[in-house]
């Protein structure tokens, strides 16, 4: 048995003999004793000395024990100061009064020191228990405040990262809860140098900081690579590798990525573990589901990662709609899930496409009885391609040492063509020339067009007239993937030449491929067709660059860019 710790005990008793006797008994038990002869003195002494425990006579002059006990309990606040009533009251009503007044126990006269010692011990145990509870509660409250503050800081940092994108573009509509980050939801959008748009809706496992912490490196990769002109596949590979490396084994990020090309009127989709997205074709009213074909990001090693995307044609005003699982998982009072069927019903009932979000939110409210705060939705439409592009990349040098008279040639052969996308690198190289920076969008678009023509039509021998309808579209990309996989020989060459001219300079780009070529004259004759899904590439090159020409039976393309130094 543990030895009793010495306490400070207040004895309030009006009978002098009893007071003396009790003081001696309590002192002999090792405690320090304070005395009071009536209730008022007891309260005063309590205020001044803060004893650990009080032995209180019930009937005293000036102020009785009941009133004194009430006042002392108030003064003690949250702490437990046990009060043991001393009484020779026999009626149970009187005893009940003791407890109602805040007494924790009572001791009958004549005093039995063994019983008194036992009661003091028991009361002290309770007192210490209460003190521990309060201490831990305060510790938890402090800790909670630290956590809240950490989250505030994380949210502030993340908001900066998240808003370097283009979510406010005119063709994007989104709904995201204020605490989305802390539910693990991530919504990013950015322009490519060519004016295409990459959009990502992600959902990290877990909540709170662990989920948020993975979001930041992911967002940096997404924005960085998109701005440099990398395609979805490379960006996905990089994001997957990064997450696999930095996250614990049991953490991952479900995500749907889109690459919307206004120029080629198509959307490229990759869905790893997210609920179905939907491509809404306005003309037919059809909603094409975009299901998850891949594991979430951060699970597979780089070798095993599958970066294959699906490509769908889009017409102007068509929309892609993505949602997080917060919608599907909304439960009602009976734990029934909202589910995909109900979502489909909302789609079917929706008359005004612009009101889709409101319809869904209303349906969720009706179903659940209240709104849910962790739902993320985004809708991206294809508008006409005359859009403002995002901000040009920021450079840190002053331009004093930019290269003005140089040429470079590259040849990309065989298996390299399968995996390597040289466009971001080539663009970065060209942007070393300050005069070209203002035209980075046009440069990228033209380079991309010439390169992909050289690769797809030239080396792979694909016929772009296949892309005349949705089925043909899918077939084209299947064939592209298959032929690329099987490719052994073939090359695409890129020649760049920069020379000063007048106050500015001139860039000549020439792209050659090892393919069969095409009938240049015939293609040039075709009118530019805005409805057809293919064949506008040549027109684009002629529009954006100068002196575009094709030679060697279409196997070699050349185009020029000029700039003037601003005065």
């Amino acid at each position: 048995m543990q030895a009793q710790e010495p306490l400070t005990v207040l004895i309030a008793e009006d009978s002098a003999a009893d007071r003396l006797l009790l003081s001696t008994i309590v002192r002999r038990q090792g405690h320090q004793v304070l005395t009071a002869a009536n209730g008022a003195e007891a309260v005063e002494t309590f205020k001044e000395q803060h004893p650990d425990l009080v032995l209180m006579d019930a009937l005293m002059p000036v102020m009785d024990g009941f009133e004194a006990a009430r006042q002392i309990k108030v003064l003690a606040g949250e702490a437990l100061v046990p009060i043991i009533f001393l009484t020779s009251l026999t009626e149970s009503e009187a005893l009940a009064r003791c407890l109602e007044a805040g007494g924790d126990d009572f001791l009958a006269k004549p005093y039995n020191q063994v019983i008194l010692a036992a009661k003091i011990k028991a009361m002290d145990r309770l007192r210490r228990l209460q003190a521990t509870v309060l201490q831990q509660r305060d510790l938890i409250a402090r800790h909670h405040d630290y956590l809240l503050n950490e989250q505030r800081v994380a949210k502030a940092v993340f908001d900066k990262v998240a808003h370097s994108g283009c979510l406010s573009a005119p063709n994007i509509r989104y709904l995201q809860s204020p605490y989305a980050l802390f539910n693990g939801d991530l919504l990013l959008a950015a322009y490519t140098p060519a004016g295409d748009m990459h959009v990502m809706l992600g959902d990290f496992t877990g909540h709170g900081l662990p989920a948020a912490v993975g979001a930041m490196p992911l967002a940096e990769v997404f924005y960085g690579m998109t701005a440099k002109g990398y395609g979805l596949a490379e960006t996905l590979r990089e994001m997957n590798a990064k997450l696999k490396r930095i996250l614990p084994v049991d953490m991952f990020c479900c995500a749907t990525l889109l690459s919307l090309s206004f120029q080629s009127r198509s959307v490229e989709v990759w869905n790893g573990g997210m609920p179905d997205g939907y491509l809404h074709r306005m003309a037919s009213g059809e909603r094409v589901p975009l299901p998850a074909r891949h594991l979430p990001l951060g699970i597979l090693s780089a070798q095993a990662f599958d970066d294959r995307t699906d490509v769908y044609p889009m017409a102007v005003d068509d929309r892609v709609f993505l949602l997080s699982d917060g919608v599907i998982d909304t439960c009602d009072a009976n734990d029934q899930l909202f589910g995909v069927e109900r979502l489909q019903q909302v789609f079917a009932a929706n008359r005004e496409p612009d009101r889709l979000f409101e319809d869904i939110e209303q349906a969720l409210r009706d179903f659940r009885g209240q709104a849910r705060d962790d739902v993320s939705m985004v809708e991206v439409s294809l508008l006409e391609s005359a859009q403002t592009h995002g901000a040009a990349p920021v450079y840190s040098d002053s331009g004093q040492s930019c290269p003005l008279n140089w040429s470079a040639s590259f040849e990309f052969r065989g298996a390299t063509l399968r995996r390597f996308n040289p466009l971001p690198f080539l663009l970065q190289l060209l942007l070393e020339v300050h005069g070209l920076r203002a035209q980075s969008g046009a440069l990228y678009s033209v380079l991309a067009e010439l390169y992909s023509n050289g690769l797809e039509h030239g080396v792979l021998g694909l016929d772009s007239s296949l892309k005349r309808d949705a089925a043909g579209f899918a077939r084209y990309y299947e064939m592209r993937a298959a032929r690329l996989e099987a490719l052994q020989d073939g090359f695409v060459r890129v020649h760049l030449q920069v020379q000063p001219q007048g106050e500015g300079g001139r860039l000549v780009i020439r792209v050659e491929d090892s393919g069969k070529g095409f009938d240049v004259a015939r293609v040039m004759e075709r009118p530019v067709d805005n409805v057809r899904l293919s064949g506008r590439g040549i027109g684009l090159v002629r529009q954006l660059g100068r002196n575009a020409s094709w030679s060697d039976q279409g196997r070699s393309a050349s185009v020029e860019f000029f700039w003037e130094i601003e005065a």
């Binding site: 496992t205 049991d250 991952f252 790893g272 573990g273 997210m274 299901p291 998850a292 594991l295 979430p296």
Partner: protein, 101 residues
């Protein structure tokens, strides 16, 4: 106990049955069910017959199990999944990592 384990007599097969909600609360129990064995089993069966619900932390736990059992070299089957559970596993494409039935 909501996680019940059974080891075959030759210690080559481990069966882990998860009952009720397979969520974050099961984390400790689930890990202990395979970490504490004397001999690493050659194959593992996760029986979800009585599992009513599966969330992303359960998916994470399966990944931890797979990593512990040798990653790509592991032999893990997830059996007796209800249709709800199967749906969740399908959306996350976990059938690419586990044999699911």
């Amino acid at each position: 106990m909501s996680v019940v384990t059974e080891v075959s007599p030759d210690q080559k097969k481990l069966t882990i049955a998860v009952k009720g909600r397979f969520d974050f609360g099961r984390h400790q129990e689930f890990r202990e069910s395979y970490e504490r064995l004397d001999k690493k089993p050659e194959s593992i069966v996760v029986d979800l017959k009585e599992a009513t619900y599966l969330d992303s932390s359960a998916l994470g736990m399966l990944l931890l199990l797979r990593d512990h059992a040798g990653g790509d070299e592991s032999d893990i089957r997830v059996v007796n999944s209800s249709s709800d559970v199967k749906k969740i596993l399908a959306i996350s494409n976990f059938d690419k990592l586990f044999d699911i039935s």
